[in-house]
C-alpha cells in the first residue's frame, strides 16, 4: 500500500519536474514546480517528518514560488520569450544522463550504513517531531541558526540594493 503510494507520488514528482524543464511558458513551469514541491512534502510526511512537510509547503510552495511568479508577471515577457526555448540540448542531455547514470550507480552499489540512531519512530511518536527539531535547532545548532538569520538579513538588503531603480 505504502509502496504503491510511493510510486504514484514518485511518478507525479518526476513528471512535474520534467514539465518544469519542458514548458515553454515560465508560468506553467512555476505551476509544475509547485506540484513537485507538494510531492516532496508528501514524502516528508511518509518519512515521519511532518514539520519538514509543513516548512516545505510554507517556504517553497508559499513564499519562493509566489516570489518567482511575481517576477514573471512583473517582467511580463509576453510571447517573445517562448521563441527562445533551449540551447545545447544534446550536450546538456548527455551530461545530465551521465549524471543520472553515475548517481544511480552510486546509490545502487552504495550501502547506507550507520543505522540505529536514537531518533526512532517510537521516539518521534512519543516526543513529537516539532519538539525534537526545535530542541536540536535551538540547543545544538543555535550558532548556525543565528548565522542563517544574518544571511537572510544580508540577502534582504542585497536584494533591495540590486533591484533598486537608482543607486
Amino acid at each position: 500500500m505504502e509502496l504503491l503510494l510511493f510510486y504514484l507520488v514518485a511518478i507525479a514528482a518526476i513528471a512535474s519536474a520534467f514539465f518544469v524543464v519542458k514548458c515553454r511558458n515560465p508560468i506553467n513551469s512555476a505551476l509544475n514546480l509547485v506540484t513537485t514541491f507538494i510531492c516532496l512534502a508528501v514524502y516528508y510526511v511518509m518519512l515521519e517528518s511532518p514539520f519538514m512537510a509543513a516548512i516545505q509547503i510554507i517556504v517553497y510552495a508559499g513564499a519562493i514560488i509566489v516570489l518567482i511568479i511575481f517576477v514573471i508577471m512583473l517582467l511580463n515577457f509576453g510571447q517573445k520569450v517562448k521563441g527562445r526555448y533551449t540551447h545545447g540540448l544534446a550536450a546538456g542531455g548527455l551530461v545530465s544522463a551521465l549524471m543520472l547514470l553515475v548517481g544511480s550507480q552510486f546509490v545502487r552499489f552504495g550501502e547506507a550504513t550507520g543505522t540505529g540512531g536514537e531518533i526512532t519512530s517510537a521516539v518521534l511518536t512519543e516526543v513529537g517531531h516539532t519538539e525534537l527539531i526545535g530542541r536540536a535547532l535551538f540547543l545544538d545548532f543555535v550558532l548556525p541558526f543565528e548565522i542563517a538569520a544574518i544571511l537572510l538579513l544580508i540577502a534582504i538588503v542585497g536584494a533591495l540594493i540590486i533591484a533598486k531603480q537608482k543607486v
Binding site: 545545447g88 550536450a91 553515475v102
Partner: protein, 654 residues
Amino acid sequence: MYSNLWLIPFFPLLGAIINGLFGKKIKNEAIIGSIGTLAMFLSFLVATQNFFRLIGDSQKVHEIVLASWMSVGNLQVNWELLLDPLSAVMIMVVTGVGTLIHLYSIGYMHGDPGFYRFFSYLNLFAFSMLMLVLGGNALVMFIGWEGVGLCSYLLIGFYIDKKSAGDAAKKAFVVNRVGDFGFLCGLLTLFWALGSHGVWTINFVEIAANAHLLEAGGVLITVVTLAFFLGATGKSAQIPLFTWLPDAMEGPTPVSALIHAATMVTAGVYMIGRMNILFAMAPSTMLTIAIIGAATAFLAASIGFAQNDIKRVLAYSTVSQLGYMFLAMGVGAFSAGIFHLMTHAFFKACLFLGSGSVIHAMHHAYHHAHLHDDPQDMRNMGGLRKKMPITYWTFLLSTIAIAGVPLFSGFFSKDEILWWSFGSTAGHPIFWIIAVAVAGMTAFYMFRLVFMTFFGEQRTDARARDHIPESPWTITVPLIILAFLAVVGGYVGVPKILGGGNHFGEFLNPVFGHAQELYDLHAHGSHAVEYTLIALSVCIALFGIYMAWLMYMKNPKLPAEFTAKFAGVYRFVFNKWYIDELYDFLFVNPCKRIGTFLWRAFDVRIVDGIVNGCAWVLKGCGAGLRYTQTGYMYNYAVAMVVGVVVIVGFYVFG
C-alpha cells in the same frame, strides 16, 4: 680644537641644497648669487681660521671623526676629515679661489635662465672638492672624487641646448670613468696588499704608517701606484687621458676657471701627494710619472701654439702646467708640485676669468650688433687693452707669472720644479731640457695670446667694435685679487737658494719630508749649477716672449710665412697631433663596432628573442585558452557538472 672643520664642506652643501631646491622659486639673481657666494665665503673664513690654527700648532696632523660609516669585518670606515698641511693648503686654494669665482659668476652668468642651477652645481662642486681634499680615508676621498666628476659633467654640459656641450660633457665623464677605474683598482689592491699583512685599513694616516710593510720597489707597490696614477691621469688630464679637458671648455668660463684650471684637475696631483709615501717607494712608477708629465707638458704646449680659440689655448696651457706638476711629483718634488699647484691656481684662474671677461664683452658687443661671429676667436679680437683696461692689466700680470718671469709667482714654483727635475736622484738632465723648452713655449704662446687679444689693431667687425664694455665690478674685483695673488703668491715659498726661507716647503714638511728625504737634491749639481740653470731658464722664457713679440707685434706677417713653410708640421699641431682621431680609431670605433655587433647579434636576437619568445608562447596559449572563457554561465555550469560526474564516477567505477 678643530671641531668646526666639518663646517667647511657643510656651507657649500647647504648653499647647493638651498639653491637647487628653492632657486627656481627665488628667481632673484642677487639673492641666489649671494647665497652661493656667501656659502663659499663662510667656508673660506672657517678654512682660514683652521689654517692659521694649524700654522701655530706644533702637531701638524689632525684626524676628526665625524661619525661611523660602516664596519665590515676588520674594516672600520668612518666619516673622517684629515687636516694636515697638505689639505690645509688645498682648502685654502679651493675656498679662496672658489669664493672669487662665485663672485665673478654673479656678473658673468647674469641673465642666464639657468642661473640658480649654475650656482647650485658650483656649490655642489665646492662641497665635493672639499670632501676630496679633506677626506681622511680613501672612501670619503672617493666620494669627493666622484662628486667632482659629476659636477664637472653637469657644468660642462651646462648649456643643455647645445649639442657640442652635451658631447663634451659625456666625453669628460667617460674618460674620467677610465681614470676612476684605475683609482678603484689601486685602492682595492692596496687594501688587499696591506690586509695580507694584517692591516685592514683605508685610512690615509694608517696607510702611511704601515706602508713599510710592503716591499719597496716591489711589483705589488708598483702596480698599486700605477693604478692610482691612472686615476690621476684621468682627473688631471695627462697622457693618455687628456683629451677631455680641451673639450670641457664648452662649459661656462667660470667653470673652466674653477674646475678645469684651479681645483678639480689638480685632484690627481693632490692624490699623488696624499699617497706620497707609497709613490716614493715605487721608483719605476715615479719614473713613469715624470716621463708622462714631461711628455704631456710638451705635447700640450705645442698644441697651444696653433689654437685660435682663446679658451682652448688656456686649456692646453692648463694641461701643460699639470704636466709640470706631475713632472715634479715624478722627480720627488712633492712640495714643489703642490706649490706650483697653488700658484697655478691663482694665475690660471685669473687668466680664465680674464678670458671670460673678454668673451663676455665680445659676446655683448656681437649681441648688440646682431652678429653671429665667434666671441672666443682671437682673430676677431685685438686692441682690447684700451677698451678693457682692468681685464688687460690683470691678464698681463698673470701671463707674466705663468711665463716664469722672475719675481712673479710662477717663477718661484717653476724654478723649484726645474731644479728638482735636474738635481734630484730621480731627475735627469733630459727632464730639465724638456721642462725648460716647455717654459719657453709657454711664454711664447701665452704672449701670443696677449698680443693677439689686447694689442695691435682691432680686428673686430666694425659694427660691434664700439660696443665692447669693461666688465662690471663683480667680474673685475676677483680679477684684481687673483692678479695680486698671481704676483705675490710665490713669496710664501721663495727657495732658499734665492735668499728665501722656503716657508711653504717647510710647512708641508710633515707630509712630504719623509718621502723627500729619499731623494738627494744635490746628486747632480751644486749651487753654482743651480744658479746657471735658473739664469738659463729665465733667458729661455724671455726669448719666448721676445719671439711672440717679434711674430705678433713687430712683424705680423711672420706667422703666416712660418706656417706656409712648415705646413705639414703646422697642420699636425693645429689638429692636436690627431690624438682625438687616433683614439677614435683605436678605442672609440672598435667599441662602437663591438657595441653594434652585440646589439644586432646578441641583444636583438638572443636577449630580446628570449623575452619576446616567452611573450609569444604565452600569447599563443592565451589566444587558444580564451575560447574556453565564453562568458556564458551555462558553459561554466556544464564544467561544474562534468566535474561532479568525474569525481562521483571515480568513486563509483574507480
